[in-house]
């Protein structure tokens, strides 16, 4: 392994003992070693930043910490004593609270009810709630966080930042000593972020131990007291912010430079543009998007989860309303709903193929034909013989492993399902293919087949736009890539410039 060993945490100065310590934690899931001998110390009055790419193991590690997962090996110590955190309830009793990106609030209950859900102060009659005491305590908690909120307001009327503060108040009311913040600034404005930082500093001064997960490197240096970097389920570094810089952190997250050995025979001379997007803005939040895909090209659309990549695909496809700019397919401006865009030769292979790309309870044949009924049959009549022939051809061409054209799609493996989604657009005669996370949930062998398929599409003169969170995949497969951040494109990388580090630097807000 080219892995360098974990770098030791700074020097001999030995401070207070850790409040929580994860020691040599491993967790295996079918097909993947999610955590491999990971250790983590969380100290009172410190912010411990956890860094890593998507899938590096951050979430799994936190789930072990608060009790959602049990580790296969390794132990958890609280105040030096080994504990078994068998459920989130046990974790909460130990004072471990997690603020997720998806809030755990009840929208039509007021703030006070949400803060004390399940622990309401008892009123004089059995089953009743002492509202006066509950609101007074809720207000005290919120004020201690510097929030001046009406505790009787229904929670759904609050903004994201305020709901986050209610979550934190809820955690504090449960006497949380260890607070995990999972990408807390992802949905906040600049001002709200400032307020959150102030709150984090205040809690740190009060001795709360925090784990802070973020993809924004500047925040790491603003708030962090310690940094742990995970990669592929392993701890690759544990260091202090003063000992490192952003470049080094990106390097650690990416690891050694990836082999570029993937021998894709590139189309030497890309043809005319199949997709041109100019100054595109849409209701889903993206703005000023400029990109181009030519025939014979595979173009990557990279960025972190939530950067706006899927939104770009949906806007091109007409699924979300466009507010400004232009989309041209094969040189001709297009605009409208998906049923108007599809006939122009655009195919979307969505991220969530089970929900959006496939009718799981219909047969392979029906799924293959659905995008091109008119093209296949001409008139309004369904012709079974013709349907069988077309479906059988596609199954052969794509080598879809199915015992029969009548097999229900849900019985097929992920890779074969993905091929059906591609096949249905192939049948529709598409010239532009937009793949959204084409290899998610697919095993390694099937991945290679999907890439071979994509390769064949471009050789036949189609253009491909590929959205992927797997940096290595973009580097391996794409001729060029655009990088997105905060709903906009922040850079274009040529074949020569394309590397995991160059993508990550653009995607993570770090010059």
């Amino acid at each position: 392994m080219a892995d360098r060993g974990a770098e030791a945490v700074g020097g001999p100065r030995q401070e207070r003992a850790a409040l929580v310590e994860l020691r040599g934690v491993s967790k295996h899931f079918p097909g993947v070693q999610a955590l491999d001998d990971v250790s983590l110390e969380i100290h009172p009055g410190e912010v411990h930043v956890l860094l890593g790419q998507n899938g590096a193991g951050k979430s799994t590690l936190m789930k072990v910490l608060y009790g959602a997962y049990q580790p296969d090996r390794g132990e958890v110590l609280v105040e030096g004593k080994p504990v078994r955190i068998t459920s989130p309830a046990v974790g909460r009793r130990l004072g471990i609270a997690v603020i997720f990106q998806e809030f755990s609030l009840v929208p039509y209950l007021d703030l006070a009810h949400n803060i004390f859900l399940g622990r309401e102060p008892r009123g004089s009659l059995p089953g009743t709630i002492d509202h006066a005491a509950m609101h007074a305590e809720a207000r005290r908690l919120l004020e201690s966080l510097g929030m001046d909120l009406d505790t009787r307001a229904p929670t759904h009327t609050l903004g994201m930042a305020q709901q986050q503060m209610v979550e934190i108040a809820k955690a504090l009311s449960q006497h949380a000593r260890i607070l995990v913040l999972d990408e807390p600034t992802a949905a906040l404005s600049e001002r709200e972020t400032e307020h959150l930082f102030a709150t984090v500093r205040r809690l740190r001064a009060e001795g709360v131990a925090m784990v802070y997960i973020s993809h924004r490197l500047p925040e790491v240096f603003l708030l962090g007291d310690r940094i742990t970097v995970l990669r592929d389920g392993k701890r690759v570094a544990a260091l202090r912010p003063g000992e490192t810089d952003a470049d080094r952190l990106v390097q650690l997250m990416v690891g050694r430079s990836v082999d570029t050995a993937y021998a894709r025979e590139r189309v030497a001379q890309p043809g005319a543009p199949v997709l041109e997007v100019e100054h595109l803005a849409a209701e889903n939040g993206i703005s000023d998007i400029n990109l181009r895909v030519r025939a014979g090209e595979i173009v990557g659309l990279a960025g972190l989860v939530g950067a706006g990549r899927t939104e770009v695909a949906r806007a091109i496809f007409g699924a979300d309303r466009i507010t400004a700019g232009e989309v041209r397919i094969l040189g001709a401006p297009v605009r409208g709903a998906p049923h108007q865009i599809v006939p122009k030769g655009v195919a979307l292979i969505p991220e969530n193929r089970k929900a959006e790309g496939l009718a799981l309870i219909r047969s392979v044949r029906d799924n293959l034909l659905v995008a091109a009924l008119k093209r296949t049959f001409g008139g309004v009549l369904f012709r079974p013989r013709k349907a069988y022939a077309v479906a059988a051809n596609l199954i052969e061409a794509l080598s879809i492993a199915t015992p029969s054209v009548n097999r229900l799609a849900r019985f097929l493996s992920g890779g074969n399902q993905q091929k059906i989604v591609v096949g249905k657009w192939l049948n529709a005669g598409s010239r532009l293919y937009v793949f959204d996370e084409p290899t998610r949930g697919i095993d390694v062998g099937a991945k290679a087949e999907i890439f071979a398929l994509i390769d064949r599409l471009v050789k036949q003169g189609a253009g491909v736009l590929m959205i992927s969170s797997e940096l290595a995949e973009i580097v391996k497969v794409c001729d060029r890539a655009y990088v997105m951040r905060d709903k906009g494109i922040v850079g274009e990388l040529s074949r020569a410039e394309l590397s995991e580090a160059s993508i990550l630097q653009l995607a993570m807000h770090h010059e």
Binding site: L105, Y108, G127, I129
Partner: protein, 318 residues
């Protein structure tokens, strides 16, 4: 800043926030009042109150059930069955409290069954209550031999005709039911958890509350209210009829939706349901006075639901 006992919303705010049904109700009263002079007479208004009482008994717990993202289609059929049980009990010579207790027990049993199937077996409420609707309707027909049950004296109808301080007994029962529901929903843990069951069940479970027990309790409460409503239904007809309450779940669901309660995220409002029940009651009563046939009245209620949703949708967009 607001103090611990913050003043309730001002009347103006309440009006501005009122669901479309409030304006629809006012409009209906004006239209019927103008076209049919007898509509606004004391006798007819009293009639509306009487007719709405039973519907309110169903719509109140239906509100809570819908707030949990559930549904109870069995209420009409179970009400018919409870009415038959009550009438048969009296016919066999049991005292009214005993017969009523039997009706309540039957209603409660169906409620618990609905809740248990939904909560513990995780079956969809629509399917579960469609099934129990069939069971209850079938039982009502079998037990009564598909005949009306009559000739059991006038104990129920006398009670039904009683006035307390000039208030008719059914209206009194409905008011008491409303007060009870209001207390449960807004002043108890149970009520807070009803909001949470629909709004974020996961967080309720994580908070350590026994979410499923509360979910069963919501349906059980519905069953008990249906059993109680059988007293009013039987008193009004002075008979037990196996199909007396067919389709009443439709009116109840309509009233809840018209009242601004949503099928999603635990968004419900009890006072809105009261308005919804009155809107349905006024609409039926007014159409009766105008001699519109009952089949068309069903269509009118359907339209009422759609109009109310449209009005709320438009107001929300603004």
């Amino acid at each position: 800043m607001s103090d611990a006992h913050a003043a309730p919303m001002s009347l103006g705010t309440r009006l501005a926030r009122a669901p479309g049904v409030f304006y629809i109700l006012v409009l209906l009263v004006i239209v019927f009042g103008v076209t049919e002079p007898s509509f606004l007479g004391a006798a007819n208004l009293g009639n509306i109150g009487l007719q709405s009482a039973i519907l309110l008994m169903l719509a109140l717990p239906m509100t809570l059930i819908i707030m949990t993202e559930g549904l109870d289609l069995s209420m009409g059929a179970v009400l018919s069955l409870c009415g038959i049980v009550l009438a048969l009990g009296l016919l066999k010579g049991y005292e009214l409290p005993v017969a009523l207790a039997a009706a309540l027990a039957v209603g409660l049993a169906f409620g618990v069954a609905n809740g248990a199937l939904v909560a513990w077996l995780d079956l969809p409420p629509f399917v579960v209550t469609l099934g129990t609707m069939g069971v209850a309707q079938g039982l009502a027909l079998v037990v009564s031999d598909a005949q009306s049950v009559v000739g059991f004296g006038d104990a129920v109808s006398r009670l039904y005709g009683t006035h307390v301080f000039g208030v008719p007994f059914p209206v009194l029962v409905a008011v008491a039911a409303y007060a009870l529901m209001h207390f449960l929903l807004y002043h108890t843990r149970f009520g807070a958890y009803v909001f949470a069951l629909g709004g974020n069940r996961e967080s309720l479970v994580l908070a350590g509350a026994r979410a499923n027990v509360y979910l069963v309790a919501v349906y059980a409460l519905g069953g008990a209210m249906v059993g109680l409503a059988a007293l009013l239904l039987t008193g009004r007809m002075n008979a037990g009829h196996p199909t007396a309450a067919i389709g009443m779940e439709f009116d109840a669901i309509a009233a809840v939706i018209v009242g601004g309660t949503s099928f999603e995220r635990g968004n419900g409002w009890l006072f809105g349901t009261l308005l919804g029940v009155l809107a349905v009651g006024v609409l039926k009563n007014g159409l009766n006075l105008l001699a519109v046939q009952s089949a068309l009245q069903v269509a009118a209620i359907g339209l009422l639901v759609i109009v109310a949703l449209l009005v709320d949708g438009l107001r929300e967009k603004r």
